[in-house]
């Protein structure tokens, strides 16, 4: 088992024929992902690595039975792309695109809830359930099938942590990149609920950073609802207030979103905290 995605997801890629699209379709196929369709308006009839391209999502869904979409289109077209996928009946959407206007994200996050679809991102690296599927731009080489669930607001920092797990032969059930924007679909709490239910997940790793209060809310939730061990790393302990630290969502605003507040909240919820990213692997070793 895994959370949100597994070997059964049939993936359609929106923005399939660009440089990113072609490269990542090929990487996903190599990982074992069922990539069944691509969409680029005006390019119907072509193929990318043997994957047929359609003009619209609805055509792709009808012809291939795709139920999942990976969004790689530029920011200003992203809202339209997500709405198109939802209207075509897609139930899992992974939005990689960065710099999407917050108001657009707010609209499609709410519409995906209304459509009862899972929306991951935006501004995220995607999701991987090792041994089953990888939907996104995460490097396939870092994963190992196993029992640790990872949910993260960061990309490379997560690769770093997952890679250090692999080096200690600790595998993962699912790694979900939640995204670095202030407005995202799937949250830490959504991931915690799913990992708690997932029989294959024995421990949960949360990778947070400054900005917002998602970690504090997760900590509150863990106290009452999560029986599995939870570990965390928080980036940005030394970040100054008022500055956006690379991610649109990584900003301490009006006194809210400090690393200190997040670390204290996790401590109160008995979540083990790592000082350095690679310490997570050592902490997991102690538990398992």
């Amino acid at each position: 088992m895994a959370i949100f995605v597994d070997e059964n997801n049939k993936v359609l890629v929106q923005g399939a024929t660009g440089h990113q699209g072609v490269f990542h379709i090929s990487e996903m196929l190599a990982f074992g992902t069922k990539v069944v369709a691509g969409v680029t308006p005006g390019k119907a009839g072509q193929d990318v690595k043997g994957v047929p391209i359609f003009n619209t999502v609805i055509e792709g869904v009808k012809k291939t039975g795709a139920d999942t979409s990976l969004i790689l289109v530029p920011a200003r077209f992203a809202k339209d792309a997500v709405f198109e996928a939802l209207e075509a009946g897609i139930k899992t959407i992974v939005t990689i695109t960065e710099n999407i206007p917050f108001h657009d994200a707010m609209e499609f996050v709410h519409y995906s809830k209304y459509k009862k679809a899972v929306l991951i991102g935006p501004n995220c690296p995607g999701i991987a359930s090792p041994g089953k599927t990888k939907i996104g731009i995460l490097p396939g080489s870092i994963f190992l099938e196993g029992n640790v669930g990872v949910a993260s607001r960061s990309g490379t920092l997560t690769y770093e942590i997952v890679n250090s797990l692999k080096e200690k032969d600790i595998g993962q059930s699912t790694c979900v990149g939640l995204g670095g924007d202030p407005i995202i679909g799937t949250t830490f709490i959504d991931s915690l609920i799913a990992f708690e239910k997932d029989k294959n997940t024995k421990a949960i790793v949360l990778v947070g950073e400054i900005g917002g209060t998602a970690e504090e809310e997760a900590a509150e939730f863990i106290k009452e609802n999560i029986s599995k061990p939870v570990l965390a790393f928080i980036a940005g302990r030394t970040a100054p207030p008022g500055k956006r630290m690379g991610h649109a969502g990584a900003i301490i605003a009006r006194g809210k979103g400090t690393a200190k507040s997040k670390i204290e909240a996790f401590k109160k919820a008995d979540v083990k905290l790592a000082k350095f990213p690679t310490d997570i692997a050592d902490l997991i070793e102690e538990i398992i």
């Binding site: 206007p101 108001h103 995460l138 917002g212 980036a235 690379g246 350095f276």
Partner: protein, 368 residues
């Protein structure tokens, strides 16, 4: 992007929200078409300007001219005053606070209002702030407005006026992709009219492409940060003397944290992103060089971007540009061994772990 108060008020006027009669006066000292007494307000992008001498009242032209000269060009918490908004004084009966912001947790617009206007909202107790979340799918409805306005202790006609302002600023908030629209205070005049005495508007940078009427005239970035932004590189100047280049925002932040652990202090946050484009690598080092760090700490994780490709780019830049401070590198991931050889060959110090690299960088920069 934060708007100056007077730009925000221009938007208010466009949406039919009353503001005091006023104009921007600069060096020309043109006070024509204004009735005295007036209030002079320095246009700076931060709060607390009143305490810093940025707001003054004048009874007549002579006094206004004197005070204008005093405000113009002064430094208010790091911002040089280049423009002063001069407005006619108004009679205040009641002062309210209203704002709309983006609630990150609920992912909805959040209206906040308080009968204690004019104060810094952070100093108002939480139970005196009214909150109402608006579904972005259905937009603001009358019931949303009623639930706020009915608790503000207003007379019927005043309530009607405030209701109209709320629906107008919601429209403005959505039309202009705002992160924040704040009126503090929104006043009720002695004649029973509503009027916005101040404006605070922040527009989402990522949505600026569809707001060509908004002129970016205000920046809180340093000149190097501005240059980086134009090149599409995430770059933040900090207080310390170690320049950090890493790929990914989270990893860059974690690298800065590791330095602090070893008593070092980051001077630059530079997120290279998921690129191995030699041109981008070159631009990154050029920017870093201009920031004059004592040590550069390059921390890379190669996943999709292969370590050796980035290393080759780094080597080319260093050989050509000549960076005259020590560079500590720590590189991990796809093809890391090849990358280490390339970097060693370029004369860089290669460390094995993040801790090791952070400790060495901190040591060289004068930490322990």
């Amino acid at each position: 992007m934060k708007l100056f108060e007077y730009r925000g008020k221009e938007l208010f006027s466009k949406y039919g929200i009353a503001v005091p009669n006023g104009k921007v006066v600069s060096m020309d000292k043109d006070f024509s078409n204004l009735n005295f007494p007036v209030v002079l307000k320095a246009q700076v992008p931060i709060g607390g300007r009143g305490k810093a001498g940025g707001i003054k009242t004048s009874k007549n032209l002579k006094e206004a001219e004197e005070k204008l000269s005093k405000i113009m060009g002064t430094d208010i918490r790091g911002y040089k005053v280049g423009k002063v908004l001069v407005e006619e004084m108004v009679n205040i009966k009641k002062e309210l606070y209203i704002s709309i912001s983006l609630d990150r947790s609920k992912r909805m617009p959040l209206i906040m209002a308080s009968a204690s206007g004019g104060m810094d909202i952070e100093s108002v107790p939480d139970d005196e702030i009214l909150k109402e979340w608006i579904s972005p799918l259905i937009g603001i409805q009358s019931f949303n407005i009623r639930s706020i306005v009915s608790k503000l202790g207003l007379e019927k006609e005043e309530g009607k006026k405030v209701s109209i302002v709320l629906s107008k600023i919601y429209k403005l908030f959505r039309d202009y992709d705002c992160e924040l629209v704040e009126i503090n205070p929104l006043i009720i005049t002695k004649d029973g009219e509503s009027m916005a005495l101040d404006s605070k508007i922040i527009i989402n940078d990522d949505a600026m492409f569809r707001h060509s009427d908004i002129i970016p005239e205000l920046t809180e970035l340093t000149s190097l940060e501005k240059e980086a932004k134009e090149k599409g590189i995430a770059f933040v100047q900090l207080g310390g003397n170690i320049g950090v280049i890493a790929n990914g925002a989270g990893l860059t932040m974690a690298t800065l944290d590791a330095l602090t652990h070893f008593k070092g202090q980051g001077g630059v946050f530079l997120d290279l992103g998921g690129t191995d484009d030699p041109e981008k690598v070159k631009q990154a080092f050029e920017l870093m060089k201009k920031a004059k760090p004592k040590v550069i700490f390059l921390n890379l994780f190669g996943g999709i971007t292969k370590c050796d490709t980035v290393a080759t780019g780094v080597k080319a830049v260093i050989t050509k540009e000549g960076i005259d401070c020590p560079i500590i590198t720590r590189i991990k991931g796809m093809n890391e061994d090849a990358a280490k050889e390339i970097l060693k060959d370029a004369g860089l110090i290669t460390a094995t772990t993040l801790q090791d690299a952070a400790q060495r960088s901190s040591g060289l920069a004068g930490g322990k």
